[in-house]
Homo-oligomer: 707 residues x 2
Amino acid sequence: MDLVVLSIIFGLLAIVYGFVTSRQVLSAPAGNAKMQEIAAAIQEGAQAYLKRQYTTIAVVGVVVAVIIAITLGTISAVGFVIGSVLSGVAGFIGMNISVRSNVRTAAAAQTGLQAGLTLAFRAGAITGMLVAGLALLAIAVFYHYLTAIAGYTIGGDDRTVVDGLVALAFGASLISIFARLGGGIFTKAADVGADLVGKVEAGIPEDDPRNPAVIADNVGDNVGDCAGMAADLFETYVVTVGATMVLTALLLKGLGEGLGAMMALPLLIGGVCIVTSIIGTYFVKLGSSNNIMNAMYKGFLVTAVISVGAIWWAIDYALGGMESPMSYTIMGNTVDFTGRTLFYCSLIGLVITGLIIWITEYYTSTAYRPVRSIAKSSETGHGTNVIQGLAISLESTAMPTLVICAGIIGAYQLAGLIGIAYAATAMLALAGMVVALDAYGPVTDNAGGIAEMAGLDDAVREKTDALDAVGNTTKAVTKGYAIGSAGLAALVLFAAYTTDLREFFPNLAVSFSLENPYVIVGLLLGALLPYLFGAMGMTAVGRAAGDVVLDVRNQFRENPGIMAGTSKPDYARTVDLVTKAAIKEMIVPSLLPVLAPIVVYFVITAVAGQANGFAALGALLLGVIVSGLFVAISMTSGGGAWDNAKKYIEDGHHGGKGSEAHKAAVTGDTVGDPYKDTAGPAVNPMIKITNIVALLLLAALAANGAG
Amino acid sequence: MDLVVLSIIFGLLAIVYGFVTSRQVLSAPAGNAKMQEIAAAIQEGAQAYLKRQYTTIAVVGVVVAVIIAITLGTISAVGFVIGSVLSGVAGFIGMNISVRSNVRTAAAAQTGLQAGLTLAFRAGAITGMLVAGLALLAIAVFYHYLTAIAGYTIGGDDRTVVDGLVALAFGASLISIFARLGGGIFTKAADVGADLVGKVEAGIPEDDPRNPAVIADNVGDNVGDCAGMAADLFETYVVTVGATMVLTALLLKGLGEGLGAMMALPLLIGGVCIVTSIIGTYFVKLGSSNNIMNAMYKGFLVTAVISVGAIWWAIDYALGGMESPMSYTIMGNTVDFTGRTLFYCSLIGLVITGLIIWITEYYTSTAYRPVRSIAKSSETGHGTNVIQGLAISLESTAMPTLVICAGIIGAYQLAGLIGIAYAATAMLALAGMVVALDAYGPVTDNAGGIAEMAGLDDAVREKTDALDAVGNTTKAVTKGYAIGSAGLAALVLFAAYTTDLREFFPNLAVSFSLENPYVIVGLLLGALLPYLFGAMGMTAVGRAAGDVVLDVRNQFRENPGIMAGTSKPDYARTVDLVTKAAIKEMIVPSLLPVLAPIVVYFVITAVAGQANGFAALGALLLGVIVSGLFVAISMTSGGGAWDNAKKYIEDGHHGGKGSEAHKAAVTGDTVGDPYKDTAGPAVNPMIKITNIVALLLLAALAANGAG
């Protein structure tokens, strides 16, 4: 069967899984009237936010689509639209499942831990499979249309397919940075604001229904941790698989007949791993020890192990055997490889994924030294809690960096740049499963909130808290995984950039050597972007959270019945306020990675000529990843560690809830919030956007005769 | 007159200034018996710490000296010993002046603000001139001995002079990282520990004599902010000027006769700027507005302006005119330059210095948005204070990066790599003045402590507080200046590395292109070093501060008379405890940058061959600077901003002293402490060590036949 069609079938399988499972989830009991009322408020707020967010993004999207249509043609513009619309769809559906499963999880938790886990995890799995399935379908259907139906060729001089794939990736990236950042600002502004004015000022517990910001906080979990995350991983998938195909088209032209199979192979690997991910979801079951994290791991391990066989099969099937020799030439060096070496590279990708999960758990779980050291340092106050948390966040970058470096070296030794691309593709092939683990988090977080607000038994809240604690680790895992894969994908994108550059501007001698000072300047400016972006994200959260505090204070003052419990706060007003703030704050930082490459190219070209302009731009792309990797990992792992240090103390250590240590830990948690859920995760799409804009700029310059 | 001898005379002038001014300072009244008793305790503690620190470093130093003697010969070993011993001497004298001027400044502040300022600034100026003078003398005398007395030649195949200069720089760097880190851990462990247990737990004010950690805190100012800083700037000076000379020797071989003058020119520029710095010190006077910062700026501006003329004279005198054409060839390109272009490059260095001072003031002074935004965010609690502080610390990297990039481009356009070297040299030429501004800080900090402990009038404490507030900004300025110059110096060192590589291994095709994955791996591993190093520094402070807290709690429990004010705490016991902790904690992180280049070279060589080993090592050097620049600037500026946000609130804003906002600001200040005084500033010597070790490794490999 045609390999691309086969991949499309696998992609459809994910949609079918999502459809069937969502019927199961939605048929579960939705709790009592009070619970449903609360859930409806959350649902309404989340939908209102997403609607406004996507409307705003659509304006930017239309402008960009027109620019692409003018500079690169209609096909590229269509690719851009497909990427952006499906990114939005992934986020939208994920959010819709999430806001319906939360109350059902709370209801299920009334019957037992296993019931709650099953429901919440299934809800997560729906989002996971939809993200992977839609991403795969976006590329596969578009590619199938271009090559099999519209008849565009690859391997020749026609750039339509390559440019179309790049534009599709750009669409996904652009939406995802807005969604990640907008959702991230929303969720943390609401969370921090609610905590500050509720826990700290009014002395009422988290999720207390008297807090006007409590619905906004729960809305935030859905629009940030669910919809934003889904858009982010959709982007990561599309860009990684797309970049592998683009690099294949650019480097493996010499394969002739075999090029078609090599173009389809990344899609097929993605396809078979959707099947393995679906199988894995059925193994998420509590053992006798009732350890929730282990239940998750069981599912992931099953997926990973059978993926090894599935990837072997995919390579064998696509290439007609594992040993037929292939080769490509880059800068005068010939690289030989076979299906078998690609298989080994894919294994490297799976191993990196496993190690990153393991390392992230080490740094964010309450069972190990890092989180416990933060908890212990809380005994001596707010300051030492934050100092230790910052130390851990800096330290947490070390092991992932070593793993990624080892992965780069191993894959490169096996099959050169194509090898690195396959390692990245195999990492992303497991996205369905990884997103499932993550999307489970906001569902349980919401379930806890609903249980609290609806006044359910403490026993229910205990179960949802237990489910939620694991969510902090799985959320950190996904972010580490996304940024780790970005480290590999950025190399692939950079290789596409340099290959394109040679093709478009064959007579321009561009030196990417570190001995060229414009390369250093590019590296420094690239390294600056995550810092500036992080600063903007953190400031936005601080500012929006301050607005929340003022609004809540006003509500308490205007209506004293709220604190007395005799009248209901105006939840919608706070939701609306946070919505406006988040939308306003997301625009400028999101445009930073779009505009920075263009500005740097034109400024350096004006000062030092086009060759140095391209050199500085290329270096900028690597500067972003070299610095972004550290900023993102330190923020996401550090934030997760702070959060769980607080939970560890709440479990009765170092004085437990209400102690001085607990207060210090709450401060650390607050600091970690924008770190791990706003600034940190948005660095991943930011890195990709910078790279893709550079590729599009190259293509636009070439198409418009600047070459 | 011989140019080097002339430079030596200028260097001696700095020593004479130091001698004369220290007699002036020491002849000032030393206050009453109580003040002298306190000062004596501080002095004793500081001397005891430094003695132990230098003894420990000496052990490492002897081992390293022996290794250098074996691999590179006796001359290099002698250079290493000169660099390390004089670095120690600079720190030792600076500390000795500081511990004697503190009490005299407190006494002088009794008579007026101007008297206090004059005394404290003169004390700082002694340290400043000694650092610049000793650094200049170290290189100039060693170079003079090698070339004029021992008769070694430059420009030929003899590597003795170049290797000797590199080894001298290594000696200075190695001592300085220990001193910066050891002193930084000491000062912040004592400061944080004293604050936590005093201000927070016992509710007694800062510098209350009942706090057993109070003497340790004041000792810390001297061993960290004074001795550690002096060693750091000594290192920066020696490495920058030394690297310029090494690059001159490697690149300008073709000049023949003129090479001698070009080798001496960096020394002469350093020499004339010692004179301009001395002149500038006499302009530090309060105007009618009583603005202390403006008084400082007056001195700096005078120095900067007359330095322009002085550098012109130096270049004109050394090269016999400004217009004689010179050129060098690098990688096939010929770079032409004249004395006039070198002068313009030097101006760029002066402008960078001015801009960095201005930017740092913007980010750390209470007069501008950044500090005020942190102060305002303190109103909503500890968490928002820290979030805003982190946002500012991330943001503060942007403008310095743009300035440094513009400086690199400008200097490179004018005279290639030699141009960048001259920009860096001109920056460091002002070190005498910049260190004077900085070394003033710990003197006033101590003066405040002594005033408090001796129970002087509140009016005196107000004056020392006013003097001290400026110290936070000037301290941040020096660090930004040092790390900014490191950005330029690292490029010079990298150029020396690649030039050496081609000379030693002419047949090895090493690709430093970003398209070589081993370059990416090197960049990532290099970028990791400041993170890991920062994590270790932060953890060390947290751990040592915890020990201080426990010791103070024990003293309070064992001797209830302390809090009652009837018996004296055992200050020496706490000093001793911090001393041991700091010495123990400084070893491992300091060895990280020494060992990392060696390990990376050998591991990558084993995996992928020697060419890739050298490529990864080279990339590591740039990775360290690309990431270290951001880590260091964000930590030092952010820390300064946090500290001054607290002071701004203490000045009566947002509720003033004792308010909730103030408590939150104290937390931010505590977090900023290890950021700005331990981890951040130590990144500067770390960057240089990594680079110098790489140069030595190359030389050692070549000398031992691995080429």
